[in-house]
Symmetry: C2
Subunit: 391 residues, 2 copies
Amino acid sequence: MRLSSPGLNHQSQEGEKKCLNSELWHACAGPLVSLPSVGTRVVYFPQGHSEQVAASTNKEVDSHIPNYPNLPPQLICQLHNVTMHADVETDEVYAQMTLQPLSQQEQKEVYLLPSELGTANKQPTNYFCKTLTASDTSTHGGFSVPRRAAEKVFPPLDYSQQPPCQELIARDLHDNEWKFRHIFRGQPKRHLLTTGWSVFVSAKRLVAGDSVLFIWNEKNQLFLGIRRASRPQTVMPSSVLSSDSMHIGLLAAAAHAAATNSRFTIFYNPRASPSEFVIPLGKYVKAVYHTRVSVGMRFRMLFETEESSVRRYMGTITGIGDLDPVRWPNSHWRSVKVGWDESTAGEKQPRVSLWEIEPLTTFPMYPSPFPLRLKRPWPTGLPTFPGMLLR
Amino acid sequence: MRLSSPGLNHQSQEGEKKCLNSELWHACAGPLVSLPSVGTRVVYFPQGHSEQVAASTNKEVDSHIPNYPNLPPQLICQLHNVTMHADVETDEVYAQMTLQPLSQQEQKEVYLLPSELGTANKQPTNYFCKTLTASDTSTHGGFSVPRRAAEKVFPPLDYSQQPPCQELIARDLHDNEWKFRHIFRGQPKRHLLTTGWSVFVSAKRLVAGDSVLFIWNEKNQLFLGIRRASRPQTVMPSSVLSSDSMHIGLLAAAAHAAATNSRFTIFYNPRASPSEFVIPLGKYVKAVYHTRVSVGMRFRMLFETEESSVRRYMGTITGIGDLDPVRWPNSHWRSVKVGWDESTAGEKQPRVSLWEIEPLTTFPMYPSPFPLRLKRPWPTGLPTFPGMLLR
DNA sequence: GTGTCGGCCGTCTGCCGACAA
DNA sequence: TTGTCGGCAGACGGCCGACAC
């Protein structure tokens, strides 16, 4: 007889752990990820959402997925709720957002109201992130802590002891406690995590190439998180619903919400998604309407480095136009074709969105003379590329 | 060094391993699961599909999911394709089916054609299934093989040797080889799997309560599969798409296919789904139109036992009517309210579908006098419960 | 007939400094 | 400064029959 096994309290996978540590979530998500603030207005891109599903199921959007002609390529929404989550199995971070498309009337008034540029991302100050080496993940030994990292984020050791050591207790995203013996020994001296480390490695199923990060906050609390090496294959178990149905579901949910001005829920998985697809309205408006771009123009764009910091890559705009003229005409999603300066950047996306880049102008930046009030109601109508608007 | 187990070919989760062992798949799916044959006509129930998603995501269908008024509660479809699959991570078995709703005209002619009752389920003959004990999964020892099982499904040992032993090689659903030392020893003598067993247990992450099964087929090949104890927590990582969107997706995909008579794809996960939701047309027609049921009538229904065999439970029909009169009026899905004889059956579903039960008639079963040709076009129209039809 | 245990041996885990990159 | 290794001691994996249910 197939019965559900008792004991485990499963019901509350989500909904209970609402208040997980925000600093830790952001640290795991990476330096480039920022979440829009509750109560603000955002622009939601079904295309970007679709890309997230495609990346996760490792399957392209099939051509026989129905069109949703009444679903615009971007939806201005009120952001009612944002909660941070972490997958119980994999520790993947993701955010749940509740969006409500503005009414037609409200959409027109959008430019009369101040619009938010989005909060800056708050990466913790006292933290470090290390990519695990073969030795770190081997059963032969412990974890070698980079010296500066240990001195910055671990409680100070009593160096008069020989060897100096202490017990560290760190909490992960699920509020589980992990205990480590932190010791400063060897010749030359180095910081190591010994007892407790291997338990952590096997529990989290870490392998060489994955990253671990520690945070030391103002309340003298220690947190730790993980970032898995992007195994090309984080294929989500689709043993229950076909990827086609998932794509359709996302589109239908958005279309229904748009038609009825009702709320809908989306999940944003920053490390699975190629790009953010919920953009603060102000950031969008500024990039699309108040920035002059044209073919041949040079630009900079931020990327995350291996060591979880950011660096800029340079490139040149090679074209402007629809990514998918059939399904998503007149969309600003990845409307900019680009070429990258460095040959090592060969794997970078050949198309970006306007709000992702920072155009380099030879002439000084000036406050936009363009009136905030548009003459034509928006977002209905013809293609509205910046070049046309700034005529 | 602790490395991710080599050899796993991740890239080809689906698509490649089309021809996985059918016997093994059915053994893992259980004795009650049967798949309709390719080329036949089936009845697809969006409600049942929805229940599968609800069970997997552990979330009820939200009330704000849009209605699909043009999506009937059952869809007669041509079954174009059925492939058996197994989840790479968990070994969960599931089937992918390609369905094509019949045209309106074809739907009317359904009863003029012979309809298939569905193939009987083919459980392998030489197989056994054992629920793992604490000792079986402990690191302290190996696997204790039930005597009859060993004699039935393992190659015979040479009992003149002391102790008799041999090397067994078995293949799993992914065609991976597993080697075990099979020995007959101890006082009293018993069959054991020793060397190789613990590797298997840890690789498959088996725990006490899970089941393992072995098959010995006609070609003298040995296969093995697993069935996890239904941790209600096979919650699929929904870090990418909300369960609402999944529900909508399934409905929208079916609605679109119904409207355009085009093909759509569904996944059927027999151990995650509360009930089958793709039913052979003949089985459906027989149950719904050629069987007389009424309140107070007694019936039998098959269930799977702990030991992977089947037994009948008895019950009484307590009511007949819509499960969800608002969303799914006039549906035959779980239209029968029942009470179960045994108090231990308290967790059994209070509602079943007609094709799941075997009504007990005090009067002899007679060939249905009901004409095969319906007067009223079907499936449009008013509720068509058997009682009304047999007036 | 089979689940669990004590006993016993061998392998591997895991802590140490050496050494080199 | 830190990744990997050889050395070593102790823990645990894993094979055995005893024993009980």
